[in-house]
């Protein structure tokens, strides 16, 4: 992050701490994609992911005065998001809802169908992983966080994170093979 970007973020955080709604909106718009994406990959359900993302931002803004500015804000935010997802998953485990097993969007255009299908296959495969493995994999491969950042977000040693990512990759490959998902000449079948 450049010094200018850092100063800009500091200013937004200060304004958020003072209760400025426009600063809160700026903050949400900056990070909503990343936070929602991680929540969606973790929960596999749009509505749950939106609830978790909303709760993440609400909690972050409420405790922004306690945020240690020497830390990376993204990591701190993703730590909150990960905690929200864990809470949501624990609640779901207590009250399983069969309707959540099929979270599909009906308004696909034909052009989007292939991408949607691949996304669903990937989401299904991710859903078969342990929560920690899934989160580590998504942060590393989809959001391109470093192992150090992921270790900070998940509160684990770097070695553990590496192990989780390796296991996640192997399990995903095994699932792809078991469902005979292959890519031939650039197209998935």
């Amino acid at each position: 992050m450049t010094p200018n970007a850092r100063n800009e973020l500091d200013s937004i955080l200060t304004q958020c701490a003072l209760g400025d709604d426009s600063a809160v909106r700026d903050l949400v718009r900056r990070y909503e994609g990343m936070v929602f994406g991680v929540c969606y990959r973790m929960l596999g359900h749009r509505q749950d992911a939106e609830d978790a993302a909303q709760e993440t931002f609400v909690r972050a803004v409420r405790s922004i005065a306690n945020f240690n500015r020497s830390r990376r804000f993204e990591s701190w935010l993703l730590t909150i998001a990960a905690n929200r997802c864990r809470t949501a998953l624990a609640a779901r485990a207590r009250r399983p809802d069969p309707t959540r097993l099929c979270d599909t969007v009906a308004d696909d255009s034909p052009d989007d169908h292939a991408a949607r299908w691949l996304d669903e296959e990937l989401q299904r495969a991710l859903g078969g992983l342990k929560n920690e493995h899934r989160q580590a994999f998504v942060l590393f491969h989809e959001y391109e966080k470093s192992y150090g950042d992921i270790a900070e977000i998940m509160g684990c040693p770097i070695g553990t994170i590496k192990t989780w990512v390796h296991r996640a990759r192997r399990e995903l490959i095994a699932q792809f093979r078991s469902r005979e998902l292959t890519r031939s000449s650039g197209a998935w079948t």
């Binding site: 909106r25 994609g33 929602f36 609400v58 409420r62 490959i173 792809f176």
Partner: protein
């Protein structure tokens, strides 16, 4: 597994290292081994497919209006917090009212000797009575006069009035801020309410008539210790 032209474990180590460093899997060393080893070639293709699937998928985006919902959520939390503090402040006021309501009947029903000791409004009728000194700070005024304690009794209502006048003087003007201010200052915790109560109770305690030191009952603690020695 070892093949004539390469080592599969070396291949796997190199593959994992490339994945960890996000290096392209089109690596000559990997390709060379994969060309002669079927399982390793399948493994390489599987990893390449997985990475391709992850890259091909669109990153999920939230529905519009997340920022608005966050602001609404924050507003609702703030309102809940305010109403909670308002409840605490109201409870504090209710407790204070309860304490005062309990103290007044007690003082009215106190024995005449206590009431007369507290009475300094009638000091004019006694030439040897000590002058009435209002209580200041934590020092307690010598509210007991020998004349008063020897039987000159003045009735309770005047004593109560004096007592509460002293109490009112002691109570600083900002000790009990209005409720509307409580909402503004509760961000720093319960300190203002606690300070108000502390101030009120301290003033009340200083205002109550007390026995002079020479009239306090002697402590009885020495008796058991004597028994122990014996």
């Amino acid at each position: 597994m070892r093949h004539a032209d390469g080592n599969c474990s070396d291949f796997d180590r190199r593959l994992q290292a490339n994945l960890d460093r996000r290096i392209d899997l089109d690596d000559d060393v990997l390709a060379e081994h994969a060309a002669t080893c079927e399982p390793c070639r399948e493994l390489l293709e599987s990893y390449a497919s997985l990475l391709d699937a992850v890259r091909s998928c669109e990153r999920p985006e939230p529905a519009c209006g997340l920022a608005d919902r966050v602001c609404v959520g924050l507003g609702a939390r703030r309102r809940r917090g305010e109403s909670r503090w308002k409840g605490i402040a109201l409870s504090a006021v209710a407790v204070a009212a309860g304490v005062i309501a309990a103290i007044v009947p007690w003082f009215r029903s106190a024995p005449p000797s206590v009431a007369s000791r507290a009475d300094h409004a009638g000091a004019a009728h006694s030439s040897v009575a000590e002058p009435y000194v209002p209580v200041v700070g934590r020092s307690r005024a010598p509210m007991v006069s020998k004349t008063a304690s020897s039987g000159a009794t003045e009735s309770g209502p005047d004593a109560v009035r004096d007592l509460f006048e002293t109490f009112a003087e002691q109570l600083s003007a900002d000790a009990l801020p209005p409720l509307r201010q409580v909402n503004e200052i509760t961000a720093v915790g319960l300190r203002p309410i606690a300070a108000s109560f502390g101030s009120a109770f301290s003033a009340l305690r200083n205002s109550l008539p007390v026995l002079r030191d020479d009239e306090r009952p002697k402590p009885q603690a020495s008796v058991p210790s004597m028994r122990l020695i014996a």
